[in-house]
Amino acid sequence: MRTVDKKIVVIGAGPAGLAAAIALHERGERDILLLEREKKPGGILRQCIHDGFGLTRFGESLSGPEYAARFIARAKELGIEIVTGATVVGLDADKTVTAVAADGMTAYRAQAVVLAMGCRERTRGALAIPGRRPAGVYTAGVAQAYINLKNIMVGREAVILGSGDIGMIMARRLTLEGAHVKGVYEIQPYPSGLPRNVEQCLNDYGIPLHLSRTVTEIHGRDRLEAVTVSRVDERMKPIPGSEERIECDTLILSVGLITENELTRMAGAQIDPRTSGAVIDEHFQTEVKGIFAAGNVLHVHDLVDFVSLEAEQLAASVTEYLHGGLDECGVEVSGEGVIQLIPQRVSAKRDVTFALRPAKPGRNAKLRVEQDGTVLAEKRIPRALPAEMAQITVKAEKFLSDSPVKVVLSFD
């Protein structure tokens, strides 16, 4: 095993890792290594051939590969070292990153580590959907990889469970490739993906979206033959007697994303059960000093543009950490009416931006940050959706003390 000293190791060359490495370079860092397990950088963007990426960041609508290509080109231009085909198999609290690749195993001894591993999809098994175990049940991202990266068609008559963004995008994709998408079924009473995808992927193609329904049985011994769909009550429990059998050869699951934190745990960093990502402070630093996290490994984002932005903010903190250190963040943050809230700890000495999602949809939401019963910052969200992230910034001078801070979203 080789041992190599590296100032900064970034794990994952998807949108977060690329943006972090570039921003670190632009801040003057030179000893940066980007590790990627795939053969090419770009992460999940490589299979996202639809457009809509980059509206916030570049002011134009790009495909996933185009969005990634801009970062990859910039990284190459800066001469950032990217090692592909390298899977990280170990991360220690002392910031040793162990990666295996076709040329053997290397232990990189880093001064700072950036976690940018992204997320994975929730599976049938995680939902415990009853029934048989035939072929033809795919998560949306896997089906997308087959079609867009491998040129392989997964089926002809499809039902989609879950109205996550990838599910809706795959509904359109399957339709464009000649499959018949019978419908998208969503267990919640509202779509879980972005409104623009409901319009552009479902409504424009006449694909029906059925709310408050879920798949309650999978039929077919060898290949999928049908699914049973049931209505659910307000507790999301299937209502007996509401079953409907839908013949199909393909079931696509778009039922949520799970942050990929195996390495984070290995390093001993604490995980927040509410975000299922690492507990971080306002510097994107985990509980293990010198290990930072940004992007979907931290909390699942709605738009890739915000992933890039977050990774760039992280880069500023990493640079500061390497050149003198960061403020202690002893002030606890909690949420009410919000989910996916980060950061979990702040210093109360600097401006800080909280990112979150509304716990439930509604109009005229009021988002505020409180401390000691006083409102530190406040804003209106005309149309709050769990599918859309929201942010609120508190100015340094507004903090009153070291008491816990609370981020609250309420409806009038």
Binding site: R37, V89, T123, G131, I152, R223
Partner: protein
């Protein structure tokens, strides 16, 4: 008359593969006919993966005797065949006086069966051995072990193959005719002749027995459903934890079992079903498993669910009677009939195989196969090695440096070995059972596309030909863009 084979074993489960392996110790031409397209199609791959001690069965039964023998002989067998197993011990926990009486009876029964290492322990000792397991008291069985059932079956089959046995997959027996001195067996249009038949057809053993002329057995398929939990829970459970069995149900009760790879199984339920291949998971049973499992092990969380599966017990005891009927192991004219080989069949599989040889040896003189080699080895398993060993392997072979399954750290080299080995994988689940890819928490989200592609490359398959598991389980409809 010239026969194609001396012995045809019907069914490539643990018992059939063990019988084939033991038969190749002798100068016999052995074939194994399996209706599925691979190993792992039935009960041997769908169970709790426990090497039982032998206290659950009545003294004097074949079940008791062969289970104890199987447990005792497993250390040597596992060494020969390179089967991962671990003598974890096992707890059967009780809560009230009724449980205590039944546990004491179980302990007596175990001692009568010759089971070593049984004792009653108190709450403190439970806390010491398995701090997260509930129970006021328990019976500890020290000789109970957990094993890798997939490797066990594969190793038996590979070793039989190495010693000259032939494997005929996708060969479903459709008829058996008695010939002078042997049999003619039909597989649809195809026919083979043999002198002996070993009926190790598991769930279909009654049907094969009928064809052999021994009528009257009825196999009652009895499904057991399971949950598989994440490895994070595995750290909390050092050994299997069972409730006191209610013998009437014909199962051992909903128990928690750590697997060799660090997951936890909850199950199995006990449900008599109509079909012999309905491996469904059902909503009411799933709820029950979690409820009952939580009584013994209150650490089950929804976020830890990985997958559900079910196995089907080939029971001779029907739903009206319940409980267990003993194994049927009998010699017919030109055949050895194995019927009702349910739990503890996996543990007893090698002693059953030895009995099969003994029964044939009672009729004819068997000549030793001097070149028999009892040893079978796995290709190096990356995830089981130390960092230093992994590094050495990856330096030597670049395919060991390419991780295909990121949850279980399965390398390209291991998947290629699974496909290229003599009884190689032909399907995605075939690869899974041989090297654990897609068994982790992402369930193939990362590796399934890669494995499908490797199968296509290695076996020159078109997308339409790629199978998930059995015939008919085609994964793809073709190219997206031609």
């Amino acid at each position: 008359m010239d026969f194609d084979f001396d012995v045809l074993v019907i069914g490539a489960g643990a018992v059939g593969c063990a019988a084939a392996r033991e038969l190749t110790r002798w100068k016999l031409r052995v074939a194994v006919a399996e209706k599925n397209n691979d190993l792992f199609g039935g009960t041997s791959a769908r169970n709790s993966a426990v090497l039982h001690a032998g206290f659950n069965n009545k003294p004097g039964t074949l079940m008791a005797k062969l289970c104890v023998e199987g447990n005792r002989g497993f250390d040597e067998l596992a060494r020969e065949l390179d089967v991962p197993y671990k003598r974890t011990g096992k707890l059967i926990v009780g809560f009230d006086e009724d449980d205590r009486r039944r546990l004491e009876a179980l302990l007596e029964q175990g001692r009568a069966n010759g089971v070593p290492g049984l004792s009653m322990i108190g709450k403190d000792e439970i806390r010491r051995l398995a701090p997260n397991v509930m129970g006021e008291f328990a019976m500890l069985s020290e000789s109970t072990a957990i094993l890798d059932p997939f490797r066990y079956v594969l190793a038996l089959a590979e070793n039989a193959l190495k010693n000259g046995a032939r494997f005929l997959f996708s060969h479903e027996v459709t008829g058996i005719e008695r010939l002078n001195g042997g049999w003619e067996v039909s597989f649809g249009e195809k026919r083979l002749t043999c002198r002996w038949i070993v009926n190790s057809a598991g769930l279909y053993a009654d049907k094969i027995s009928d064809m052999l002329g021994k009528k009257g057995y009825v196999i009652y398929p009895c499904r057991g459903e399971y949950f598989i939990l994440d490895k994070r829970v595995g750290e909390l459970l050092p050994m299997p934890a069972y409730p006191v069995p209610n013998i009437r149900t014909g199962g051992l009760g909903i128990h928690l079992t750590p697997t060799m790879d660090g997951n936890v199984l909850i199950g199995p339920s006990t449900e008599y079903i109509g079909e012999r291949d309905d491996y469904s998971a059902t909503a009411p049973t799933m709820d029950m498993l979690i409820r009952d499992g939580s009584r013994i092990f209150p650490h089950i969380r929804r976020e830890h669910y990985i997958r559900n599966f079910s196995g089907i017990r080939p029971k001779l005891a029907g739903p009206d009677k319940g409980g267990y009927n003993d194994f049927v192991i009998e010699r017919l004219d030109g055949a050895v009939n194995l019927v009702g080989i349910e739990s503890p069949g996996l543990t007893a599989s090698m002693p059953i195989a030895k009995l099969v040889v003994e029964m044939i040896g009672e009729v004819e003189d068997l000549e030793k196969n001097e070149s028999f080699d009892p040893v079978s080895r796995r290709a190096p398993v990356f995830r089981e090695l130390s960092r230093e060993e992994q590094a050495k392997l990856a330096e030597k072979d670049p395919d060991y440096g390419e991780i295909i399954c990121r949850c279980e750290n399965v390398t390209r080299a291991e998947i290629l070995a699974a496909i290229r080995s003599p009884l190689g994988a032909r399907t995605v689940t075939g690869v899974k059972y041989r090297c654990r890819s897609t068994m982790g928490r992402c369930q193939g989200g990362y590796c399934q596309t890669r494995i499908a592609e490797m199968l296509m490359e290695e076996l020159s398959l078109t997308p339409e030909e790629v199978l998930y598991s059995q015939e008919g389980s085609n994964m793809f409809t073709g190219r997206a863009i031609r």
